[in-house]
Amino acid sequence: MATDNRSASGASTVTRPHVAVANKLETVSEDAFAYVLLVPTFLLITVVAIYPLLETFRLSLYTDQLGSVGVGDFVGHANYVDVLAGARDVVLLSGFWYGVAITLGFALVSVFFETLLGLGMALVLDKEFRGRAFVRMAILIPWAVPVVIQGMIFYLLFEPSIGFAVRPLQELGVMSSTPLTTTRDAFVLLITADVWKTTAFMALIILAGLQSIDRSLYEVGRVAGATRWQRFVMITFPLVLPAVLVAMLFRTLQAMQVYGIVVTMSGCSTVPSLTCMVVESFRANRFATSATIAFLTAGIISIIIGVYLVKFVDSLREIGGDV
């Protein structure tokens, strides 16, 4: 009989391949096994993230070729030198460093206010009060609004012929008569729109952090005679800081990629963010310049991620967390 024959001839020689692999995995260390399980993820990341990034880098090493399709000759790092030294400023709406300043300024200011307001909201929502569920739901409404709608809401508020907000603000000397086409005013309005929409997101993540804090710590603090402020500084803030940093990281990354709200509200010419420059140079068939700015933007974002990760690790260490 077949079964008997197989047994007789030795099971190990006819074991099916996947069984053999499973047997092999049984013998590897726990760490090695974890890496094996991560292989598909690494492959996926390589295909969808690393390869496009490398391809972008490759494109950035060639010249723009306006008169034909694609890119021109290989020039090495010349595009980076040109962009960073300002030689491409004519084609970058207002210059690369201006774009960096606009983008970083937008990210820093908007994330600062979002964090501050988000923390405040989270602290309020962490308390027990009647209608808390409703308030939680209500603050989420702006977060649910699509970027284009958000842009249109603010556009209609500040468009000179329709928006009711323009004239009073102009009379107060706060804004010009055409705020959406004046860089300074539009910048402020973009930050306002961003804070309006995304503070709720910050609040929710920070709230999750707050609710994971062991409540008995507050009892201990109270017994030890700590004031409300001392309890916040010594218990709440350090313990919620990792959650705040995670929220700030997400928001900063999103803010560094700001594009949709700019296009909808003020246009890239008025507030030329880095992503605006990437898109506009791509549309002008400057594929190499576009790739150069894209790669530089990715570099800046990587540095920001690095800073956040260091801070995150520090904050975890301070509260005795596992790094």
């Binding site: 306006l66 008169g67 004519v90 012929s161 246009g267 549309r283």
Partner: protein, 495 residues
């Protein structure tokens, strides 16, 4: 957007708009799989796919009407034209065409291209010459009879044609004839419809009409946002009507890149900016002109493109608005339930001017000038049916067909040549028929945008500098000096 607005303006009712059964990516050449054959085309030998067609929101009925009209215009009954829906966003369409042509796709057979972005495709070698499959007579007909600026928008530097202008949009001055007449002017008697007043006379007429009517908030509105429409169109019209230019003679608009003079620092260009600053900021402000009526335009124009500037005009709060030809169809109809129609009180004239052609230094400048908008039918060089495509183009050239398109209440596009507009039938068309003379003058004097492969960057720099000067962030001299540097730097790149 413009065509949809036009359609709405003409006031056709009962349109089955929105019932678009886009044929998707129907592979055009007959012989593809059955799934590729558009509905209704099963019985024809050849299917030609035409991306864009005439209107953004063509219903199946309109497509049927167009097909019938093409057959009436001589297209072989064996050929079925599959009109495919395109996006409302011209940026999206441009991106789509860039991808398709770069990939060498054979479908669609015909691409509708904005007259402003046909030339870069030609320069990149992505479009073929139509004289390779169209007869000499037809090519000569396009060269001789079509509006010159439209033909230039499909021509390469050697003069070869790569597409066919299908319809035009033209910059025109729309104004309230009743209000101007109440201020003591006689537009009909002075023939403004074909011989517009000078900018100075125009500003005085608008100023007088503003004084006459307390309900009027603004005299003259236009588009001065920092966008392509400023550089391609409004600024282009202003400087041309002042005898100024981007690159000297207009023959340089599409040619001699790298060797052409940069003339944006010339006095006529500066005066054009000063004139607009006068309109916006009043004649007491810096960098303005004393001879012009000041303060007739709101500062809001600095943030307006076409639709926002037209809105207040349609609401009856403005005397004059510079806009495209379709705006007449929207506001010259008789009063409708929305109160949007001014009927015969809606006047149209070509854009005013500051110097005559004889007084202008550069060829092609001076006198009235209309920025050219509109669309071209451009054959896909990878099409497997170029002979049939040529037949479709020939049918599109038929004057009767062009009149049909102009007349059709759901299309209403303006033909790209005078002949179709001179027809008595054209003057009998409801609403738009009243303005064919102005449209013809605007078509003959249309000025093309200086489109080359450098234009996207040059346009962006121009809009930014001009907007800055109009806003008062820079003087006209400084802004144009900076612009000249920008343009020069970009021109050097072409060498």
């Amino acid at each position: 957007m413009s065509r949809r607005r036009f359609v709405r303006g003409v006031g056709a009712t009962g349109a089955a708009a929105g019932s678009i059964a886009a044929a998707g990516c129907a592979a055009a050449p007959w012989g593809g799989s059955d799934d590729d054959v558009p509905e209704g085309a099963e019985d024809y030998d050849t299917v030609i796919s035409w991306h864009g067609g005439f209107a953004d929101d063509e219903s199946d009925d309109v497509k049927d009407d167009v097909r019938e009209a093409l057959w009436d215009a001589g297209l072989s009954k064996e050929i079925y034209v599959d009109i495919q829906q395109s996006s409302d966003s011209t940026d999206d369409v441009l991106d789509q065409y860039t991808t398709w042509l770069s990939a060498g796709r054979s479908d669609p057979d015909i691409l509708n291209m904005d007259s402003g972005w046909t030339i870069p495709f030609i320069e990149r070698g992505q479009l073929g010459r139509i004289d390779e499959y169209m007869s000499e007579d037809r090519i000569a007909e396009i060269e001789e009879d079509y509006f010159p600026a439209s033909v230039d928008s499909v021509r390469d530097e050697d003069g070869n044609l790569h597409g066919l202008p299908v319809f035009v949009d033209l910059g025109l001055m729309h104004y309230r004839k009743d209000l101007v007449e109440a201020a003591g002017y006689d537009p009909d008697g002075e023939g403004w419809a074909t011989e517009p007043p000078t900018w100075q006379e125009f500003s005085e007429a608008v100023g007088a009409a503003m004084e006459e009517d307390d309900g009027i908030e603004n005299g003259f509105t236009f588009q001065a946002d920092n966008y392509e429409g400023l550089s391609c169109c409004n600024f282009n019209e202003w400087i041309t009507t002042w005898g100024g230019a981007y690159f000297g003679d207009h023959e340089n608009l599409h040619a001699n890149v790298g060797d052409r003079p940069i003339t944006v620092e010339d006095e006529p260009v500066l005066d054009a900016i000063r004139m607009i600053r006068t309109f916006i900021h009043g004649s007491d402000a810096d960098d303005t002109l004393d001879d012009f009526e000041g303060g007739i335009s709101t500062e809001a124009v600095l943030g307006w493109n076409e639709d926002p500037s037209l809105g207040p005009y349609g609401d009856g709060r403005v005397i004059a608005n510079r806009n495209w030809s379709y705006a007449a169809a929207m506001h010259a109809q008789d009063d409708d339930e929305d109160g949007a129609g001014f009927g015969e009180d809606h006047g149209v004239m070509p854009i005013p001017y500051a110097v005559t052609e004889d007084e202008a230094e550069y060829e092609g400048t001076g006198g009235t000038a209309a920025a050219l908008g509109g669309w071209n039918a451009v054959p896909n060089p990878n099409s497997e049916n170029l002979d049939a495509v040529a037949e479709v183009l020939e049918a599109l050239m038929d004057p009767e067909f062009q009149l049909f398109v102009f007349e059709h209440p759901l299309i209403g596009n303006i033909p790209p040549r005078s002949e179709a507009l001179e027809d008595d039938d054209a003057e009998d068309i409801p609403v738009m028929g009243r303005y064919v003379d102005s449209i013809r003058v605007a078509g003959e004097t249309a000025t093309a945008r200086p489109v080359t492969s450098l234009w996207p960057d040059q346009s962006s720099a121009t809009a930014s500098r001009v907007h800055s000067a109009l806003q008062g962030d820079e003087t006209p001299e400084d802004a144009m000096s900076d612009l000249a540097d920008d343009l020069e730097q970009l021109e050097q790149e072409a060498d």
